[in-house]
Amino acid sequence: MSTKVFEVIQPGPLTTIQDLGRSGYQQFGVPTSGALDNYAYRISNLLVGNAEEAAALEITLFGCQLRALRETMIAITGADLAVTVNGAPAPAWESLSLKQGDVLSFPRLSSGCRAYLAVAGGIAVPKVMKSASTYTKAGIGGFGGRPLHKGDILQANQSTTSVKVVRMLSEYIPVYGNQIEIRVIPGPQDDLFTEDGISTFLNSDYTVSAQADRMGYRLEGPRIQHKEGADIISDGIPLGVVQVPGDGLPIILLVDRQTTGGYTKIATTISVDIPRIAQAKPGDKINFKKVDEEQAVALLKKYEQQMETIKSRLYA
């Protein structure tokens, strides 16, 4: 059973419905999509007593405004968009009770790039290829395959758990700065770059360009030198891979990336650093640091253990 929960007063530049993404369809040319900042997204659901993978809103930058159509519990995580309820400041990273008619606004960007709004019970939309995630480019999933528009009415499922107000442990709330270090594992085609090229990549500061979206982040900075050329026989594109086309400028490929491509890929972002890229915005600085597979897996293990700790302490 689902009932109306929000009316969209203003959608902001890009607000979409996302979940953990769709798995198994890249072989048919369909990207996974899903929440770009998997950490903030999963926590938002935990704060309202949902399963981690319930559908939620991904709100990009500021300007979104929603009206509650009934009483509901929500939680906002991710970017600090100076959230207000009826004009009064409201807390993020904790569960928040709304009454019918309350107006929720995201008026200003303080830090980060994408906020997540979870609703108790989860946003209700039909699943397409087993996921609620929106892939706007092909009009697949979410709210009719598109970003939210003014006047859209969102439905949420009935919450099955009784939700109490919970607050995220402050030590686990990320701080989003303007300069991030992204850890990468070399490959798949690091052998097609010169030593100088690899050194440029690992020792330069890059700037997030205006072409930065859910598909990928184009970076500006020193050009990375190939040995012979940038073209390869097209192959798959892992999440977080850093592609370097002929112009030598790196592109970090993200959840809405094309499933295959024909440019050299110098390194791949480790899983736990994807959420940090998700919160970087045009103008922010990125530098890359090489790690090995063992370090990456150890960090991922720690990340998942932290998620378990958060769960047990939230529901203690």
Binding site: S23, G24, Y25, Q26, Q27, F28, G29, V30, V128, M129, K137, A138, I140, G141, V184, I185, P186, G187, P188, Q189, I233, S234, D235, G236, I237, P238, L239, G240, V241, Q258, T259, T260, G261, T268, T269, I270, S271, E293, A296, V297, L300, K301, E304
Partner: protein
């Protein structure tokens, strides 16, 4: 050429490429398909998703369930027993196409570029069997091999901003079908009334890597009839198994 030993390339902490050869070649691609099917059949714990390409398979895995090293070992064992394992047959799928006119505005250009008549271009294009090397670029878009060099034509110098779903085109020595509306620099020679991609069907793409397709020339009247039956969901795709 198929490599003697597969090359394992890193795709980060959660993905690995298995590269099986050095070229775009039907034998290499068949080995990619066979390996994909063998991994699916082996139902390996921690394997999340497989993406076949021309000469490599990208495998997404859950690193907290299986390590890349364990996975590499499993793959080497699978590759050794690949020849003897039973694999599903490949299919040839027939794609009806109306060539020329409003359906294929560049047919005449492709003909004159190659000093052929439009009818000869249609005969050559619909007379070949094409290997679906992989699906990529956009949902349901097939990368095809096997087009005759006799009808090869460079891309348009100025791409069209919009082409219709189902457009069949030529770009250099490649031919392909656009499943959805898109900007395109390809020379459009015809259009199919079929819908290559259905988000709500399982599998969503009627074309799959490793299968073959052929094009069959149909009249504009037949286009309308097939289009109607596709819309009603009554169209029977013409396909047959091959050895």
């Amino acid at each position: 050429m198929i490599y003697k030993e597969p090359r394992f390339l890193s795709g980060g902490d959660h993905a690995i490429f298995i590269e099986l050869g050095d070229s775009i070649d039907p034998d290499v691609n068949q080995r990619v398909r066979n390996l994909k099917l063998a991994i699916e059949k082996a139902d390996i714990l921690g394997v999340v998703e497989l993406v076949p390409a021309y000469r490599s398979l990208l495998v997404y895995f859950e690193p907290l369930q299986i390590s890349a090293a364990e996975f590499r070992e499993t793959i080497c064992n699978l590759l050794q027993s690949l020849a003897s394992s039973e694999l599903p047959k490949r299919m040839v799928i027939e794609i009806p196409v109306t060539y020329g006119g409003e359906f294929g505005p560049d047919l005449e250009l492709v003909a004159s570029h190659n000093n052929l008549s439009a009818a000869e271009v249609v005969r050559i294009h619909s007379g070949a069997r094409y290997l679906i090397y992989m699906i990529g670029f956009m949902p349901g878009f097939p990368y095809l091999g096997g087009m005759s060099p006799e009808i090869a034509t460079p891309r348009k110098t100025t791409p069209r901003l919009k082409i219709s779903p189902g457009s069949v085109g030529i770009a250099g020595t490649q031919t392909g079908i656009y499943p959805a509306e898109s900007p395109a620099g390809w020379q459009i020679i015809g259009r199919t009334p079929l819908e290559l991609f259905h988000p709500n069907q399982e599998p969503p793409s009627i074309l799959q890597a490793g299968d073959y397709l052929t094009f069959a020339s149909i009249t504009p009247e037949e286009f309308t009839i097939i289009r109607e039956s596709v819309r009603k969901g009554t169209y029977q795709l013409a396909k047959k198994d091959i050895a």
